[in-house]
Protein backbone atom coordinates (compact mmCIF):
# COMPACT_ATOMS: atom_id res chain seq x y z
CA UNK A 1 0.00 0.00 0.00
CA UNK A 2 1.11 3.51 -0.73
CA UNK A 3 1.96 5.59 2.34
CA UNK A 4 0.35 8.99 2.41
CA UNK A 5 3.64 10.74 1.81
CA UNK A 6 3.83 9.03 -1.56
CA UNK A 7 0.28 9.98 -2.57
CA UNK A 8 0.41 10.44 -6.31
CA UNK A 9 -0.06 14.09 -7.07
CA UNK A 10 1.05 16.83 -9.46
CA UNK A 11 3.99 18.96 -8.38
CA UNK A 12 2.95 21.96 -10.38
CA UNK A 13 -0.11 24.11 -9.88
CA UNK A 14 -0.80 25.18 -13.45
CA UNK A 15 -2.06 22.21 -15.46
CA UNK A 16 -3.17 22.03 -19.10
CA UNK A 17 -5.81 19.72 -20.54
CA UNK A 18 -6.99 18.56 -23.96
CA UNK A 19 -10.15 16.98 -25.34
CA UNK A 20 -8.76 14.40 -27.77
CA UNK A 21 -12.08 13.31 -29.30
CA UNK A 22 -15.79 13.39 -28.43
CA UNK A 23 -19.10 11.66 -29.29
CA UNK A 24 -20.29 12.68 -32.74
CA UNK A 25 -23.80 13.54 -31.62
CA UNK A 26 -22.52 16.23 -29.22
CA UNK A 27 -21.07 19.44 -30.64
CA UNK A 28 -17.44 20.15 -29.78
CA UNK A 29 -18.47 23.52 -28.41
CA UNK A 30 -20.83 22.06 -25.84
CA UNK A 31 -18.29 19.35 -24.85
CA UNK A 32 -15.54 21.98 -24.36
CA UNK A 33 -17.92 24.05 -22.28
CA UNK A 34 -18.75 21.09 -20.04
CA UNK A 35 -15.08 20.07 -19.66
CA UNK A 36 -14.06 23.62 -18.77
CA UNK A 37 -16.78 23.80 -16.13
CA UNK A 38 -15.71 20.43 -14.72
CA UNK A 39 -12.11 21.60 -14.27
CA UNK A 40 -13.40 24.86 -12.77
CA UNK A 41 -15.10 22.84 -10.04
CA UNK A 42 -11.69 21.74 -8.74
CA UNK A 43 -9.81 25.01 -9.29
CA UNK A 44 -12.51 26.81 -7.32
CA UNK A 45 -11.67 24.89 -4.16
CA UNK A 46 -7.91 24.29 -4.51
CA UNK A 47 -4.73 26.05 -5.47
CA UNK A 48 -4.81 24.52 -8.95
CA UNK A 49 -5.23 26.44 -12.19
CA UNK A 50 -6.33 24.72 -15.40
CA UNK A 51 -5.98 25.86 -18.99
CA UNK A 52 -7.04 24.20 -22.22
CA UNK A 53 -3.95 23.41 -24.27
CA UNK A 54 -4.19 25.05 -27.67
CA UNK A 55 -1.53 22.83 -29.17
CA UNK A 56 1.15 20.36 -28.12
CA UNK A 57 1.03 17.79 -25.32
CA UNK A 58 -1.28 18.59 -22.44
CA UNK A 59 -0.86 17.42 -18.84
CA UNK A 60 -4.33 15.83 -18.79
CA UNK A 61 -5.95 14.22 -21.86
CA UNK A 62 -9.66 13.29 -22.08
CA UNK A 63 -10.48 10.68 -24.74
CA UNK A 64 -13.38 8.44 -25.79
CA UNK A 65 -12.82 4.76 -26.65
CA UNK A 66 -14.92 1.76 -27.37
CA UNK A 67 -14.29 -1.78 -26.03
CA UNK A 68 -10.67 -2.76 -25.50
CA UNK A 69 -8.43 0.28 -25.95
CA UNK A 70 -5.00 -1.05 -24.89
CA UNK A 71 -4.45 1.37 -22.05
CA UNK A 72 -2.37 -1.15 -20.18
CA UNK A 73 -4.97 -1.97 -17.55
CA UNK A 74 -6.87 -4.66 -19.41
CA UNK A 75 -10.04 -2.86 -18.42
CA UNK A 76 -11.95 -2.87 -21.69
CA UNK A 77 -15.11 -0.84 -21.85
CA UNK A 78 -18.27 -2.96 -21.80
CA UNK A 79 -20.76 -1.18 -24.07
CA UNK A 80 -23.90 0.58 -22.81
CA UNK A 81 -24.14 0.62 -18.99
CA UNK A 82 -21.70 -1.03 -16.62
CA UNK A 83 -18.42 0.92 -16.56
CA UNK A 84 -18.90 4.39 -18.06
CA UNK A 85 -15.36 5.76 -17.71
CA UNK A 86 -12.09 5.40 -15.83
CA UNK A 87 -8.95 7.47 -15.23
CA UNK A 88 -5.40 7.24 -13.96
CA UNK A 89 -3.80 8.73 -10.86
CA UNK A 90 -1.05 11.38 -11.36
CA UNK A 91 1.02 11.95 -13.24
CA UNK A 92 -0.17 9.88 -16.17
CA UNK A 93 -2.84 12.47 -16.94
CA UNK A 94 -5.48 10.39 -18.75
CA UNK A 95 -9.25 9.97 -18.42
CA UNK A 96 -11.08 7.55 -20.73
CA UNK A 97 -14.79 7.52 -21.51
CA UNK A 98 -16.81 4.69 -23.09
CA UNK A 99 -17.86 5.95 -26.53
CA UNK A 100 -20.68 3.38 -26.59
CA UNK A 101 -22.50 5.11 -23.75
CA UNK A 102 -25.40 7.45 -24.37
CA UNK A 103 -23.70 10.68 -23.33
CA UNK A 104 -25.84 13.68 -22.76
CA UNK A 105 -25.63 17.27 -21.58
CA UNK A 106 -28.53 19.34 -20.29
CA UNK A 107 -30.75 16.68 -18.77
CA UNK A 108 -31.49 14.58 -21.84
CA UNK A 109 -31.79 10.79 -21.67
CA UNK A 110 -28.43 9.22 -20.94
CA UNK A 111 -25.40 9.74 -18.70
CA UNK A 112 -24.46 13.30 -17.86
CA UNK A 113 -21.03 13.96 -19.36
CA UNK A 114 -20.32 16.93 -17.09
CA UNK A 115 -20.72 14.91 -13.86
CA UNK A 116 -18.72 11.93 -15.14
CA UNK A 117 -15.96 14.22 -16.43
CA UNK A 118 -15.77 16.08 -13.09
CA UNK A 119 -15.45 12.73 -11.28
CA UNK A 120 -12.72 11.36 -13.60
CA UNK A 121 -10.77 14.65 -13.37
CA UNK A 122 -10.76 14.04 -9.61
CA UNK A 123 -8.89 10.78 -10.25
CA UNK A 124 -6.38 12.47 -12.59
CA UNK A 125 -5.61 14.85 -9.71
CA UNK A 126 -4.94 11.94 -7.31
CA UNK A 127 -8.30 11.48 -5.58
CA UNK A 128 -9.62 8.00 -4.93
CA UNK A 129 -13.25 7.00 -4.45
CA UNK A 130 -15.11 8.40 -1.48
CA UNK A 131 -17.55 6.53 0.72
CA UNK A 132 -19.38 9.76 1.60
CA UNK A 133 -22.97 9.74 0.40
CA UNK A 134 -23.52 12.16 -2.51
CA UNK A 135 -19.79 12.82 -2.88
CA UNK A 136 -18.73 13.59 -6.43
CA UNK A 137 -15.99 10.97 -5.96
CA UNK A 138 -18.45 8.25 -5.01
CA UNK A 139 -17.92 5.27 -7.34
CA UNK A 140 -21.54 5.61 -8.54
CA UNK A 141 -21.91 8.85 -10.40
CA UNK A 142 -24.13 11.50 -8.93
CA UNK A 143 -27.02 13.11 -10.78
CA UNK A 144 -26.63 16.79 -11.71
CA UNK A 145 -29.08 18.44 -9.32
CA UNK A 146 -29.48 21.83 -7.72
CA UNK A 147 -27.22 21.15 -4.77
CA UNK A 148 -23.50 21.80 -4.79
CA UNK A 149 -21.60 19.34 -6.93
CA UNK A 150 -18.67 18.89 -4.54
CA UNK A 151 -19.19 17.40 -1.07
CA UNK A 152 -17.11 18.33 1.99
CA UNK A 153 -15.08 15.17 1.52
CA UNK A 154 -14.25 16.02 -2.12
CA UNK A 155 -13.04 19.48 -1.06
CA UNK A 156 -11.05 18.15 1.88
CA UNK A 157 -9.36 15.51 -0.28
CA UNK A 158 -8.24 17.92 -3.01
CA UNK A 159 -7.09 20.54 -0.48
CA UNK A 160 -5.10 17.88 1.35
CA UNK A 161 -3.12 17.39 -1.88
CA UNK A 162 -2.95 20.91 -3.33
CA UNK A 163 -3.93 23.36 -0.62
CA UNK A 164 -6.72 25.89 -0.52
CA UNK A 165 -7.30 28.44 -3.29
CA UNK A 166 -5.25 31.59 -2.91
CA UNK A 167 -7.64 34.24 -1.67
CA UNK A 168 -7.81 36.65 -4.58
CA UNK A 169 -9.14 34.42 -7.37
CA UNK A 170 -12.81 34.81 -8.41
CA UNK A 171 -14.98 31.78 -7.67
CA UNK A 172 -17.62 30.89 -10.26
CA UNK A 173 -20.31 28.23 -9.73
CA UNK A 174 -19.68 25.95 -12.69
CA UNK A 175 -22.91 24.00 -12.24
CA UNK A 176 -25.22 26.93 -12.77
CA UNK A 177 -22.95 28.61 -15.34
CA UNK A 178 -22.77 25.42 -17.35
CA UNK A 179 -26.46 24.76 -17.16
CA UNK A 180 -27.39 28.24 -18.40
CA UNK A 181 -24.73 28.18 -21.14
CA UNK A 182 -25.83 24.77 -22.41
CA UNK A 183 -29.49 25.74 -22.44
CA UNK A 184 -28.59 28.84 -24.43
CA UNK A 185 -26.40 26.75 -26.72
CA UNK A 186 -29.18 24.24 -27.34
CA UNK A 187 -31.71 27.03 -27.92
CA UNK A 188 -29.57 28.62 -30.62
CA UNK A 189 -29.00 25.21 -32.22
CA UNK A 190 -32.73 24.54 -32.17
CA UNK A 191 -33.35 27.79 -34.03
CA UNK A 192 -30.81 27.19 -36.76
CA UNK A 193 -32.57 26.54 -40.10
CA UNK A 194 -32.21 23.23 -41.86
CA UNK A 195 -32.87 19.69 -40.65
CA UNK A 196 -34.26 19.24 -37.15
CA UNK A 197 -31.60 18.78 -34.44
CA UNK A 198 -32.53 15.13 -33.84
CA UNK A 199 -31.43 14.27 -37.41
CA UNK A 200 -27.86 14.36 -36.13
CA UNK A 201 -28.55 11.00 -34.66
CA UNK A 202 -29.84 11.25 -31.13
CA UNK A 203 -33.33 11.60 -29.72
CA UNK A 204 -34.88 10.49 -26.42
CA UNK A 205 -38.00 8.72 -27.74
CA UNK A 206 -40.17 8.18 -30.83
CA UNK A 207 -43.74 7.02 -31.31
CA UNK A 208 -46.70 7.23 -33.76
CA UNK A 209 -50.26 8.21 -32.97
CA UNK A 210 -53.54 6.94 -34.39
CA UNK A 211 -53.37 9.44 -37.27
CA UNK A 212 -50.02 7.88 -38.29
CA UNK A 213 -48.20 11.04 -37.22
CA UNK A 214 -44.67 10.29 -36.01
CA UNK A 215 -43.48 12.18 -32.92
CA UNK A 216 -39.76 12.50 -32.10
CA UNK A 217 -38.82 13.65 -28.58
CA UNK A 218 -35.54 15.26 -27.55
CA UNK A 219 -35.05 17.16 -24.29
CA UNK A 220 -37.89 19.57 -23.64
CA UNK A 221 -39.11 19.68 -27.27
CA UNK A 222 -40.60 17.35 -29.87
CA UNK A 223 -41.18 17.32 -33.63
CA UNK A 224 -44.12 15.85 -35.57
CA UNK A 225 -44.04 14.35 -39.08
CA UNK A 226 -47.53 13.74 -40.56
CA UNK A 227 -48.39 10.71 -42.71
CA UNK A 228 -48.15 13.03 -45.72
CA UNK A 229 -44.65 14.11 -44.65
CA UNK A 230 -45.55 17.53 -43.25
CA UNK A 231 -43.25 18.56 -40.40
CA UNK A 232 -43.74 20.83 -37.43
CA UNK A 233 -41.48 21.70 -34.48
CA UNK A 234 -39.62 22.05 -32.32
CA UNK A 235 -42.67 22.23 -30.05
CA UNK A 236 -42.48 22.49 -26.28
CA UNK A 237 -43.22 19.16 -24.59
CA UNK A 238 -44.86 20.73 -21.57
CA UNK A 239 -47.11 22.94 -23.61
CA UNK A 240 -49.01 19.82 -24.74
CA UNK A 241 -48.44 17.59 -21.71
CA UNK A 242 -47.97 20.10 -18.85
CA UNK A 243 -47.32 17.62 -16.02
CA UNK A 244 -44.37 15.97 -17.75
CA UNK A 245 -40.78 16.61 -16.55
CA UNK A 246 -38.34 18.69 -18.64
CA UNK A 247 -37.36 15.63 -20.66
CA UNK A 248 -38.54 12.03 -21.01
CA UNK A 249 -36.74 8.73 -21.60
CA UNK A 250 -39.38 6.68 -23.40
CA UNK A 251 -42.79 7.35 -25.00
CA UNK A 252 -45.43 5.09 -26.52
CA UNK A 253 -48.86 5.69 -27.99
CA UNK A 254 -51.12 2.70 -27.47
CA UNK A 255 -53.61 1.84 -30.25
CA UNK A 256 -55.39 -0.37 -27.68
CA UNK A 257 -56.71 2.47 -25.53
CA UNK A 258 -55.59 5.52 -27.57
CA UNK A 259 -53.54 6.76 -24.63
CA UNK A 260 -50.06 8.23 -24.36
CA UNK A 261 -47.50 6.62 -22.03
CA UNK A 262 -44.36 8.49 -20.98
CA UNK A 263 -41.45 7.19 -18.88
CA UNK A 264 -38.68 8.97 -16.99
CA UNK A 265 -36.63 7.65 -14.07
CA UNK A 266 -38.90 5.74 -11.71
CA UNK A 267 -42.19 7.12 -13.00
CA UNK A 268 -44.80 6.54 -15.72
CA UNK A 269 -47.27 9.16 -16.95
CA UNK A 270 -50.47 8.30 -18.85
CA UNK A 271 -52.47 10.82 -20.86
CA UNK A 272 -55.78 10.75 -22.69
CA UNK A 273 -55.12 13.43 -25.29
CA UNK A 274 -53.31 16.04 -23.23
CA UNK A 275 -55.13 15.32 -19.97
CA UNK A 276 -53.22 13.35 -17.36
CA UNK A 277 -55.21 10.32 -16.18
CA UNK A 278 -56.00 10.28 -12.47
CA UNK A 279 -53.60 8.32 -10.33
CA UNK A 280 -50.68 9.21 -12.60
CA UNK A 281 -47.75 9.59 -12.49
CA UNK A 282 -47.23 6.19 -10.92
CA UNK A 283 -44.05 4.46 -9.82
CA UNK A 284 -42.95 1.93 -12.41
CA UNK A 285 -42.05 -0.45 -9.56
CA UNK A 286 -45.75 -0.58 -8.65
CA UNK A 287 -46.38 -2.04 -12.11
CA UNK A 288 -43.48 -4.44 -11.82
CA UNK A 289 -41.52 -2.46 -14.36
CA UNK A 290 -37.87 -1.31 -14.25
CA UNK A 291 -36.88 2.35 -13.96
CA UNK A 292 -35.35 4.18 -16.91
CA UNK A 293 -36.44 1.83 -19.73
CA UNK A 294 -34.46 2.12 -22.96
CA UNK A 295 -37.58 2.17 -25.14
CA UNK A 296 -41.30 1.36 -25.03
CA UNK A 297 -43.89 0.55 -27.67
CA UNK A 298 -47.37 -0.97 -28.04
CA UNK A 299 -47.08 -4.32 -29.77
CA UNK A 300 -50.32 -5.32 -31.49
CA UNK A 301 -49.45 -9.05 -31.99
CA UNK A 302 -49.26 -9.35 -28.18
CA UNK A 303 -51.89 -6.72 -27.43
CA UNK A 304 -49.60 -5.34 -24.70
CA UNK A 305 -46.98 -2.65 -24.08
CA UNK A 306 -43.39 -3.84 -24.40
CA UNK A 307 -40.47 -2.19 -22.57
CA UNK A 308 -36.83 -2.86 -23.40
CA UNK A 309 -34.17 -2.39 -20.74
CA UNK A 310 -30.60 -3.68 -21.11
CA UNK A 311 -30.63 -7.38 -21.91
CA UNK A 312 -34.29 -7.93 -20.95
CA UNK A 313 -37.79 -6.97 -21.98
CA UNK A 314 -40.93 -6.53 -19.93
CA UNK A 315 -44.59 -6.91 -20.94
CA UNK A 316 -47.14 -4.52 -19.41
CA UNK A 317 -50.82 -5.49 -19.53
CA UNK A 318 -52.50 -2.12 -20.16
CA UNK A 319 -55.85 -3.27 -18.76
CA UNK A 320 -54.55 -4.58 -15.44
CA UNK A 321 -51.53 -2.20 -15.40
CA UNK A 322 -49.46 -5.11 -14.22
CA UNK A 323 -46.54 -6.93 -15.75
CA UNK A 324 -47.53 -10.17 -17.40
CA UNK A 325 -46.44 -13.37 -15.60
CA UNK A 326 -43.23 -15.15 -16.70
CA UNK A 327 -41.63 -11.82 -17.61
CA UNK A 328 -39.04 -10.22 -17.86
CA UNK A 329 -37.40 -12.43 -20.44
CA UNK A 330 -34.15 -12.16 -22.36
CA UNK A 331 -33.99 -9.77 -25.30
CA UNK A 332 -32.78 -12.67 -27.46
CA UNK A 333 -36.40 -13.55 -28.07
CA UNK A 334 -36.38 -10.57 -30.43
CA UNK A 335 -33.98 -12.07 -32.90
CA UNK A 336 -31.40 -9.54 -34.07
CA UNK A 337 -32.47 -6.59 -31.95
CA UNK A 338 -29.52 -5.10 -30.00
CA UNK A 339 -29.53 -3.74 -26.45
CA UNK A 340 -29.76 -0.06 -25.68
CA UNK A 341 -32.24 1.03 -28.36
CA UNK A 342 -33.50 4.53 -27.60
CA UNK A 343 -36.81 4.38 -29.43
CA UNK A 344 -39.25 2.02 -31.16
CA UNK A 345 -42.49 2.35 -33.10
CA UNK A 346 -44.78 0.16 -35.17
CA UNK A 347 -45.48 1.39 -38.69
CA UNK A 348 -48.93 1.09 -40.38
CA UNK A 349 -47.74 -2.07 -42.15
CA UNK A 350 -47.28 -3.71 -38.73
CA UNK A 351 -43.50 -3.82 -38.85
CA UNK A 352 -41.59 -2.65 -35.80
CA UNK A 353 -38.77 -0.16 -36.19
CA UNK A 354 -36.11 0.28 -33.48
CA UNK A 355 -33.49 2.98 -33.30
CA UNK A 356 -30.06 3.39 -31.70
CA UNK A 357 -27.75 6.32 -32.53
CA UNK A 358 -27.77 6.62 -36.33
CA UNK A 359 -28.90 3.04 -36.99
CA UNK A 360 -32.32 1.38 -37.25
CA UNK A 361 -33.51 -2.23 -37.23
CA UNK A 362 -36.80 -3.37 -38.81
CA UNK A 363 -38.36 -6.32 -37.01
CA UNK A 364 -40.95 -8.40 -38.91
CA UNK A 365 -43.56 -9.86 -36.50
CA UNK A 366 -44.50 -12.60 -39.02
CA UNK A 367 -40.92 -13.83 -39.42
CA UNK A 368 -40.08 -12.93 -35.80
CA UNK A 369 -36.70 -11.54 -36.77
CA UNK A 370 -34.94 -8.45 -38.04
CA UNK A 371 -35.38 -8.24 -41.80
CA UNK A 372 -33.73 -4.91 -42.54
CA UNK A 373 -31.37 -2.39 -40.99
CA UNK A 374 -29.55 0.75 -41.99
CA UNK A 375 -29.19 4.45 -41.21
CA UNK A 376 -32.59 5.85 -40.39
CA UNK A 377 -31.91 9.54 -41.20
CA UNK A 378 -30.82 8.45 -44.69
CA UNK A 379 -33.08 5.47 -45.38
CA UNK A 380 -36.42 6.24 -43.73
CA UNK A 381 -38.18 9.16 -45.40
CA UNK A 382 -40.89 9.27 -42.74
CA UNK A 383 -38.49 10.38 -40.01
CA UNK A 384 -38.40 13.93 -41.38
CA UNK A 385 -34.65 13.92 -42.08
Amino acid sequence: RRSDAQAEKWYKRHLTYQVVNWPRHLSLGSVRLAVRAAFQLWSNVSNLVFEEASEGPADIRLAFYEGDHNDGTGNAFDGPGGTLAHAFLPRRGEAHFDMAERWTLNGHKGHNLFMVTAHEIGHTLGLEHSPVRHALMSPYYRKLGRSMVLSWDDILAVQQLYGKPSGNRPVRLPGQVLHAALQEWEFTELQTPGLPLYCRGVFDAITMDEKKTVLVFRGNVYWTISAEGGQSGPLLLRQRWPELPQAIEAAAFSQLDSKWYFFRGKRIWRYTGNVLDSGFPMKTSELGLPRRPDSAFYYAPLGHMVLFKGARYYILNLKSLQQEPYYPRKLMDWNGIPQGTNGALTRPDGRLYLFRDQRFWRFDPMKVRVTREGQWARDLSWTGC
Partner: protein, 95 residues
Protein backbone atom coordinates in the same frame (compact mmCIF):
# COMPACT_ATOMS: atom_id res chain seq x y z
CA UNK B 1 -24.89 -7.48 -36.07
CA UNK B 2 -24.27 -9.28 -32.77
CA UNK B 3 -26.14 -7.77 -29.87
CA UNK B 4 -23.66 -5.96 -27.62
CA UNK B 5 -23.87 -4.30 -24.30
CA UNK B 6 -23.47 -4.88 -20.63
CA UNK B 7 -25.40 -7.76 -19.11
CA UNK B 8 -27.95 -6.73 -16.53
CA UNK B 9 -26.68 -9.45 -14.25
CA UNK B 10 -23.10 -8.96 -13.00
CA UNK B 11 -20.88 -11.82 -11.82
CA UNK B 12 -20.40 -10.84 -8.16
CA UNK B 13 -16.95 -12.39 -7.77
CA UNK B 14 -15.65 -10.72 -10.93
CA UNK B 15 -17.12 -7.44 -9.68
CA UNK B 16 -15.55 -7.72 -6.20
CA UNK B 17 -12.18 -8.59 -7.71
CA UNK B 18 -12.31 -5.85 -10.34
CA UNK B 19 -13.09 -3.12 -7.83
CA UNK B 20 -10.57 -4.12 -5.21
CA UNK B 21 -12.69 -5.91 -2.61
CA UNK B 22 -11.18 -9.33 -3.34
CA UNK B 23 -7.59 -9.69 -4.41
CA UNK B 24 -6.92 -11.26 -7.78
CA UNK B 25 -4.00 -13.31 -6.59
CA UNK B 26 -6.28 -15.40 -4.45
CA UNK B 27 -8.15 -17.25 -7.17
CA UNK B 28 -10.12 -19.16 -4.56
CA UNK B 29 -11.62 -16.99 -1.86
CA UNK B 30 -12.90 -18.47 1.38
CA UNK B 31 -16.29 -17.52 2.71
CA UNK B 32 -14.84 -15.19 5.34
CA UNK B 33 -13.08 -13.17 2.63
CA UNK B 34 -16.19 -13.07 0.49
CA UNK B 35 -18.51 -12.02 3.29
CA UNK B 36 -16.05 -9.36 4.36
CA UNK B 37 -15.73 -8.09 0.78
CA UNK B 38 -19.52 -7.92 0.39
CA UNK B 39 -19.83 -6.06 3.69
CA UNK B 40 -17.21 -3.55 2.64
CA UNK B 41 -19.03 -2.98 -0.67
CA UNK B 42 -22.36 -2.60 1.11
CA UNK B 43 -20.77 -0.09 3.52
CA UNK B 44 -19.39 2.04 0.73
CA UNK B 45 -22.70 1.86 -1.19
CA UNK B 46 -24.77 2.79 1.89
CA UNK B 47 -26.69 -0.49 1.74
CA UNK B 48 -27.78 -2.59 4.73
CA UNK B 49 -24.61 -4.43 5.78
CA UNK B 50 -25.62 -8.06 5.65
CA UNK B 51 -22.58 -9.71 4.11
CA UNK B 52 -25.05 -11.49 1.84
CA UNK B 53 -25.58 -11.11 -1.90
CA UNK B 54 -29.12 -9.86 -1.48
CA UNK B 55 -31.10 -8.28 -4.31
CA UNK B 56 -30.30 -4.72 -3.29
CA UNK B 57 -26.57 -5.54 -3.43
CA UNK B 58 -26.87 -7.23 -6.82
CA UNK B 59 -28.92 -4.32 -8.20
CA UNK B 60 -26.26 -1.85 -6.98
CA UNK B 61 -23.50 -3.89 -8.63
CA UNK B 62 -25.34 -3.58 -11.93
CA UNK B 63 -25.65 0.22 -11.77
CA UNK B 64 -23.51 2.31 -14.14
CA UNK B 65 -20.31 3.38 -12.36
CA UNK B 66 -16.67 4.46 -12.61
CA UNK B 67 -14.19 1.79 -13.66
CA UNK B 68 -11.51 2.82 -11.12
CA UNK B 69 -11.02 0.43 -8.21
CA UNK B 70 -12.57 1.28 -4.84
CA UNK B 71 -9.50 0.00 -3.03
CA UNK B 72 -8.14 2.49 -0.52
CA UNK B 73 -11.20 4.70 -0.43
CA UNK B 74 -12.14 3.57 3.08
CA UNK B 75 -8.62 4.00 4.46
CA UNK B 76 -8.06 7.43 2.93
CA UNK B 77 -11.48 8.62 4.02
CA UNK B 78 -10.66 7.48 7.55
CA UNK B 79 -7.49 9.52 7.47
CA UNK B 80 -9.35 12.62 6.25
CA UNK B 81 -11.91 12.30 9.04
CA UNK B 82 -9.15 11.79 11.55
CA UNK B 83 -7.51 14.93 10.23
CA UNK B 84 -10.71 16.85 10.90
CA UNK B 85 -11.05 15.75 14.48
CA UNK B 86 -7.45 15.67 15.60
CA UNK B 87 -5.78 18.06 13.19
CA UNK B 88 -3.06 15.44 13.01
CA UNK B 89 -2.29 12.73 10.54
CA UNK B 90 -2.44 9.32 12.12
CA UNK B 91 1.12 7.85 11.94
CA UNK B 92 1.31 5.01 9.51
CA UNK B 93 1.52 1.64 11.22
CA UNK B 94 4.40 -0.35 9.76
CA UNK B 95 3.58 -3.97 9.04
Amino acid sequence: VPARGSPLVVDPQDFLEKYGYLHHEHQIHNSVEIHSAIREFQWLSHLPITGELDSATLLQMAEPRCGVSDEGSQKNWGQRVNLIFTGRRRPQRRR
